[in-house]
């Protein structure tokens, strides 16, 4: 159905995207001609390198990997939006790609008009949209708004309408990029169900997701991309396990972050992360209710004004549990660097349920410059030992422990 052979995609990086001005090109031409100046040599990165895979009809394949690992690039190549630098692909069947929700939607047009516009641009014949129209509206649940301009819709409603159009595309192959991560919970469930139903219909689906649970439950196969290279592909459970093993060191251990995959401009970088106890002692185990100190080591090449440190905590299956920033916590840091240092994040009374969690780090500034972003760089395990010094084990499976009091009123005489 889909055959991909040693597909590679290269992007130039040091000139930004290939946007230039005519004026610059003309000036550049003359300065080369007259002054003999050489243009800056370009640097390239491989967004995808030598990717081969085969997906047969009726399969639902999840693509997992860190941000920037080439997942979206692969989908874009398969949907013909960008051309590969080298390699070949063969796709048999009609392809519909869903890289965003509400493709081609326009605020001023009514829901009805948008359904036709979006449906046709996504590859459906107008007659087919008309035939499916009632179903699309019903699925999105926007019946009474259908002749109102989209600008009067809530964002949830237009999102639902967008997914509904996509869900009714009659293609043989559907390429989906992280779209089910949006929308309210009820609707997410509906989307996941629809994707589940696709299995029966015999449609081939390729979908990118950070929701590892969804990949494991819905897919018949999985591909793990890392830095543009296929690291593993096969049964979802095994691929996800392999992928998760790279999420970081074991609980409590120091983690050197100098050699890991990262994004960002690099003026300052995380060099390590440590998990400590309240008095900054090394800890062997972390239990729910303890105070956990996460020490973030950094090294700055230049002075960074107004640094903002951020940390995200995810469950094993990719659910974002919490996100903390120095900025959001009301902490304004003084400039850092050049040089190295560390910052401690104290989490008193850690109310996470037993289980494995992983963290992503970011070092940014208020002007939205990303100095360093390291995804899933370390993990820590919360022990199933008791809370509040009680020796009563907690059951794992939940995400958090609610701070609680039990108050009983005894009616017995």
């Amino acid at each position: 159905m889909i055959t991909v052979e040693s597909l590679s995609k290269q992007y130039a990086i040091n000139r930004g995207p290939e946007v230039t001005m005519l004026r610059e090109s003309v000036c550049g031409f003359f300065s080369r001609l007259i002054l003999g100046r050489q243009p800056q040599p370009r640097q390239f990165i491989w967004a995808l390198k030598d990717v081969s895979c085969e997906i047969s009809a009726g399969e639902i394949v999840g693509i997992v990997g860190r941000n920037g690992s080439g997942k979206s690039t692969l989908l874009k190549i398969l949907s013909k939006i960008v051309r590969p630098t080298s390699g070949s692909m063969r796709v048999n069947g009609r392809v519909a790609s869903l890289l965003e929700v509400g493709t081609a939607f326009h605020e001023e047009l009514t829901g009805r008009e948008n359904i036709y516009l979006s449906g046709c641009i996504l590859g459906m014949a107008r007659g087919r949209v008309a035939a499916k129209f009632d179903e699309i509206v019903a699925f999105a649940g926007v019946d009474s708004y259908i002749d109102m301009p989209l600008k009067h819709y809530s964002s949830g409603m237009s999102m639902r309408l967008g997914f509904s159009v996509a869900a009714h595309l009659e293609s043989d192959i559907l390429l989906v990029d992280e779209v089910i991560a949006v929308g309210d919970g009820e609707f997410q469930k509906k989307c996941l169900q629809t994707m589940g139903e696709l299995r029966g219909v015999g449609r081939t689906v390729l979908f990118v997701s950070h929701n590892l649970a969804a990949v494991e439950n819905l897919c018949t196969g999985a591909i793990w991309l890392d830095n543009g290279v296929v690291r593993s592909c096969g049964r979802p459970k095994e691929v996800i396990q392999e992928y998760m093993q790279t999420f970081g060191a074991l609980s409590g251990a120091d983690k050197d972050l100098n050699g890991v995959t990262r994004r960002g401009t690099g003026e300052a970088r995380f060099s390590g992360v440590e998990f400590l106890g309240l008095s900054r002692q090394k800890v062997k185990t972390i239990a729910s209710g303890d105070t956990l100190v996460i020490r973030l080591h950094y090294a700055a090449k230049e002075t960074v004004q107004r640094p903002v440190f951020g940390l995200e905590v995810y469950t094993q299956l990719g659910t974002l549990v919490a996100q903390v920033h120095t900025y959001n916590s009301g902490v304004d840091l003084s400039p850092i660097g050049p040089g190295s240092g560390y910052i401690d994040l104290e989490l008193p009374d850690l109310n996470l349920a037993p289980g494995r969690y992983y963290i992503s780090l970011s070092l940014t500034n208020l002007g939205y410059i990303f100095y360093d972003v390291v995804d899933h760089c370390a993990t820590f395990d919360v022990d199933p030992s008791g809370r509040y010094g009680l020796n009563r084990a907690l059951k794992s499976g939940a995400i958090m422990c609610l701070p609680c009091n039990w108050v009983s009123s005894n009616h017995c005489a």
Partner: protein, 262 residues
Amino acid sequence: MKYWQWVAEGWMHREIYYLLAWRDVRLRYKQTVLGVFWAVLQPFLTMLLFSIVFGRIVNIGSDGIPYAIFYYAALLPWIYFSSTVTQSSLSLVNNARLVTKVYFPRSALPIAPALSGMVDLGIGTIILIVMMAYYGLHPTAKLFLWPVLVIMLACLSCTIGMVLSALNVRYRDVKHVVPFLLQLWLFATPIVYPANMIPEYLRFYMDLNPLTGIVAAFRTVCVPQQHTDWASLGFSAVVILLLLFVSVGYFSKAEQSFGDVL
């Protein structure tokens, strides 16, 4: 992609072309208070202005055609051409989100304005017919040439629009060049002056501009006693065909990197 494959793919997805054009029309008439009047007002007021400035003040001859008809018949195709080219040259950049999120024949974006412009052109034509009746000009069999001229005009607009839109993706300052280019083009075309005022030694160069033949023909169609310059018109048709081949060739090459650059 092979040349004919490219054309065939566009034809297969022709619904998208109509739909994008329809979207343009919907939006234009939905968002403006004046609505249809806008389509009528623009050429009409320009015609009045030209009649006063060039007709009464500068006193350029109009070949014996009433000034109103003389200017209106030339301004209709010109306004269609210039607004189509302006819109299509921006179409790819303005719809960058669409281009980077879904695959469809990219030429639909620069070609759609040429289709949606037909609505305004049609309304303008009705006004023209009313004006002809007012001046006692009876339509002759030459009126059948009108659709042919419109098709030639649309092809020319698509050609220029496609090239400029693709260039605009590559070089973002092309959009500043377009208004200037159109201004030059306005005066290089016999719009404010009649075609027969062109001196003989410039004739050939003026005819290289395909708009020359088209605009002159638009005028002669309206006036029974005027003769259409078939040679000039035929030459325009050949130039347009050549340009069409070149621009499709360029566009189909350039579109391969749209997804990366936008």
